[in-house]
């Protein structure tokens, strides 16, 4: 199975990277951009375990290791 995890800076936290990318796109004449946010995408290939078990394990991993709860939030999917 595969876990796909998205980790994004929290909405209220400054995202310097997103801000800079927005500027760059605009200076390339890309108009109509309201906001850009840049985060991480992780793909974990897994072996064994039921979906429910993995769900729990991945959630724990996201919380403890893969994201920084102080400034980031995560979502994931297991397929």
């Amino acid at each position: 199975m595969k876990a796909k995890i998205i980790v994004m800076p929290k909405k209220t936290v400054l995202d310097p990277q997103g801000k800079t990318v927005k500027h760059a796109l605009e200076s390339m004449n890309f108009t109509g951009i309201k906001d850009v946010r840049v985060g991480k995408f992780m793909e974990i290939e897994l072996e064994g375990g039921t979906k429910a078990e993995l769900q729990k394990k991945i959630d724990e991993a996201c919380h403890k290791l893969l994201s920084n709860p102080v400034i980031e939030e995560y979502t994931f999917e297991i397929q």
């Binding site: 929290k10 209220t12 936290v13 400054l14 310097p16 801000k19 403890k64 290791l65 920084n68 709860p69």
Partner: protein, 727 residues
């Protein structure tokens, strides 16, 4: 208007008496925004209300001081030929405990702003770090994790937690300093139990400028525009007062981040743009960065210093989020923002320079003549407070101090001195810090003559044809055992490190990290450390030009050991004097300046000064080839470092020591190991220890000969931290 309940007042950290004083100043009840403003300006961080009477003990005067301690954002000293140096150290301990990477990064960003605010171009950074032990599988004894956030480790494994903090802090400092292009040329790292749960992160920055480029944080010239530039204001760093803002806002239901995210790229633009604006003839009247309590602090302080008032309109303030209240805007700690007071009518010139750097300067208000800090939202007044009341009328407290009997550090007789030296060299506090400084760009700007790895960093100022040395030092164990002696020793060690590098000590900045000052024992430690530092600074002729106080460094296990970090600047008169700690040639004489044995926890300052002067004198006469100060681990560690700290050219030594092995590791103060060509040894007043040469360090003692392969010593010393961190 909503009445302010006693809980709201208490949660702002204000006492009933302080609240009474606020009402008296205003002649009415404050509103919540005003309460917030008073609470930050009267906090320890901004007002130094608990420490000010003690800090007055520091010697702060000298003919070469251009901007005195406490006058401005950083002190400035004259280094001759019209050139000057601004430097300062600041703590970012608590944010780093919560989020090590961003906490440390924004600490670096903050101190850099303090320097360029003065009109100086930052040319070097240092960092002083303290963590709990990183080398024990389980050192926690059940102390909970600092944040309850246990990334990467099981909660009981404190050592892993400390490693995570250490790694995060170093990466954060690297991130900010490297990106902005200021070399991080030195610092220190200690590991001790008392910092578990309360790491220390002190960042220091130093900049250069011409005398006529000094800028002040003054709002003068009624009618002059107040210009905001830099990052937009968000709800950053409001966690401390989050309760209040939560009650106050309906629109903001989101979690507010306690931690600010730094943007070193933005700061680089600000740095360049501000220096360019400041250097344009008469354009900038006053300037101040927005650090803690951002807009609040910068507006009322500039007005207070200028003897004026200031009026701003919050509708004009660039905001990152919608629905922000005046309270939130005034108390936001968003990073990378500056406040300028420009000359009226020349706004366009300011804007043009900012635009060149892709920044937007926004005029948010003007200087007034009524002495009032007036915050408006459009036509509505949100706060109206006499500016002086916020800065000069802050309460001052004389806290109770209760002495603690001094402890003693007795040198122990190691059973197996050969093993003991290897263990000492491998212990994280003594081991090489290359794992740290290799992550820092310590060479950018083409100034670094002596990189991290010798007693002090040596930096050239090519634009002025000058050379300076810088070091930070503090042994907090000494300060716990005897705060007065510990304070003296910190200054003496800093001076010694400079002298060993060929520099003449000039001036000091200090970062006083202590526990809760309401505890009389802690306050006594604080007072005694300050007194010790003061006495030593007097003797060495190095006035204090500024610094920072960080109280409330407490973990569940209690207060940290007193950690008054000394940052010291030295001047090198001639590049020929630049000296490093490692042995240079085979067959040289190894000579000790100072005593072999002696009371470790005492420093005789007059004696120390004589040793320093002698060492500098030998360096100036070109007699000695290397000089290394003895600190933690005594002669044994210092000799080993002389042999192998320069990886490309290691040279062994054979020395003879009288007395027991304790003499080998005892930490007697005021000692320097120097080397010279044999025929010049007669010119040196010291004790000949032996000669350099070979691939071993051999020490003959009355109990027999000890011998180490220096490649082995090097391996343990050089790789110890990397092995712990990357296991």
């Amino acid at each position: 208007m909503q009445p302010l309940t006693p809980e709201v007042i208490a949660k702002h950290g204000l006492t009933t008496e302080e609240y009474g004083r606020i009402k008296q100043i205003l002649g009415r009840e404050p509103n919540t925004t005003e309460l917030g403003i008073f609470s930050v300006m009267w906090s320890e961080h901004c007002s130094y209300k608990n420490s000010r009477p003690e800090l007055k003990k520091f010697p702060r005067e000298a003919p070469f001081i251009l901007v005195k301690a406490g006058e401005e954002n950083a002190g400035i000293v004259d280094i001759g030929d019209g050139w000057a140096i601004a430097f300062k150290i600041e703590s970012h301990n608590h944010p780093s405990a919560v989020e090590p990477f961003q906490g440390a990064a924004t600490g670096v960003g903050g101190i850099i702003r303090d320097i360029f605010t003065m009109g100086a171009r930052p040319i070097l950074n240092l960092n002083t770090l303290r963590f709990g032990p990183i080398d024990r599988p389980d050192c926690g004894r059940g102390i909970p994790a600092p944040t309850g956030r246990d990334r990467n480790v099981a909660p009981t494994d404190q050592s892993a937690q400390n490693r995570r903090l250490f790694a995060g802090v170093v990466a954060g400092i690297a991130h900010y300093g490297n990106c902005i292009g200021i070399p991080t040329v030195g610092g220190e790292v200690y590991f001790a139990e008392c910092y578990t749960g309360n790491p220390l992160v002190n960042a220091l920055s130093l900049g250069i400028l011409r005398h006529d480029q000094i800028k002040r944080g003054k709002a003068v010239g009624v009618g002059n525009p107040v210009i905001y530039v830099g990052s937009a204001t968000g709800r950053d760093g409001l966690a401390g007062a989050a309760f209040a803002s939560r009650e106050l806002t309906e629109e903001s239901h989101e979690d507010r981040p306690a931690v600010q995210v730094g943007d070193p790229f933005m700061e680089k633009l600000l740095l360049e743009a501000c220096l360019e604006v400041m250097r344009k003839n008469g354009l900038v009247v006053g300037i101040q960065d927005m650090g803690a309590a951002g807009l609040t602090c910068s507006t009322c302080e500039t007005a207070s210093r200028g003897g004026t008032g200031i009026e701003i309109d919050l509708e004009k303030v660039p905001k990152r989020e919608t629905g922000m209240t005046p309270y939130e805007i005034m108390l936001s700690e968003s990073q990378e923002r500056m406040l300028l007071i420009a000359q009226k009518g020349r706004e366009r010139e300011v804007e043009e320079i900012f635009e060149k750097w892709d920044l937007h300067g926004v005029t948010i208000g003007r200087v007034t003549g009524d002495g009032i800090m007036r915050v408006k939202v459009g036509d509505k007044v949100a706060a109206e407070i006499p500016a002086r009341a916020l800065t000069d009328d802050a309460p001052v407290y004389h806290r109770e101090a209760r002495p603690v009997a001094p402890g003693r550090a007795l040198p122990q007789e190691p059973k197996d001195p050969e093993k003991a030296l290897i263990e000492l060299l491998g212990s994280p506090t003594i081991a090489s810090k290359n794992w740290v400084y290799r992550q820092y760009d310590h060479m950018v700007q083409d100034r670094t003559i002596v990189a991290p790895g010798s007693d002090a960093a040596v930096i050239r100022i090519q634009e002025a044809g000058k050379f300076i040395a810088f070091t930070t030092d503090c042994n907090s164990t000494y300060c716990r055992l005897d705060p007065f002696e510990g304070g003296k020793i910190a200054v003496a060690e800093a001076a010694r490190n400079l002298v060993c590098s060929g520099a003449r000590p000039l001036a000091v900045t200090d970062c006083l990290n202590f526990g809760n000052p309401m505890k009389p024992e802690v306050f006594w430690q604080f007072r005694r450390c300050v007194e010790g530092i003061s006495e030593a600074c007097l003797i060495f002729g190095t006035p204090v030009t500024g610094g920072n106080v960080s109280f409330y460094n407490e973990s569940p296990a209690g207060a940290i050991d007193p950690t008054p970090v000394i940052g010291m600047l030295g001047l090198i008169d001639d590049p020929k004097h630049i000296t490093t700690q490692w042995f240079k040639d085979t067959g040289d004489m190894i000579i000790l300046l100072g005593e072999i044995g002696g009371e470790p926890l005492k420093v005789d300052l007059a004696h120390a000064k004589r040793i320093h002067d002698a060492c500098l004198d030998y360096i100036r006469q070109g007699i000695i080839k290397s000089a290394h100060d003895c600190s933690e681990g005594g002669l044994g560690v210092a000799l080993a470092e002389c042999c192998m700290s320069h990886g490309d050219a290691m040279i062994g030594a054979t020395v003879e020591l009288p007395g027991s092995a304790a003499a080998l590791f005892g930490e007697t103060q005021s000692r320097i190991i120097v080397t010279c060509a044999p025929e010049r040894a007669v010119k040196i007043a010291g004790r000949v220890l032996g000669r350099t040469g070979g691939a071993e360090l051999k020490i003959k003692t009355p109990r027999g000969e000890l011998c180490w392969d220096i490649a082995r010593l090097r391996d343990v010393w050089w790789n110890s931290i990397a092995r712990l961190m990357e296991r």
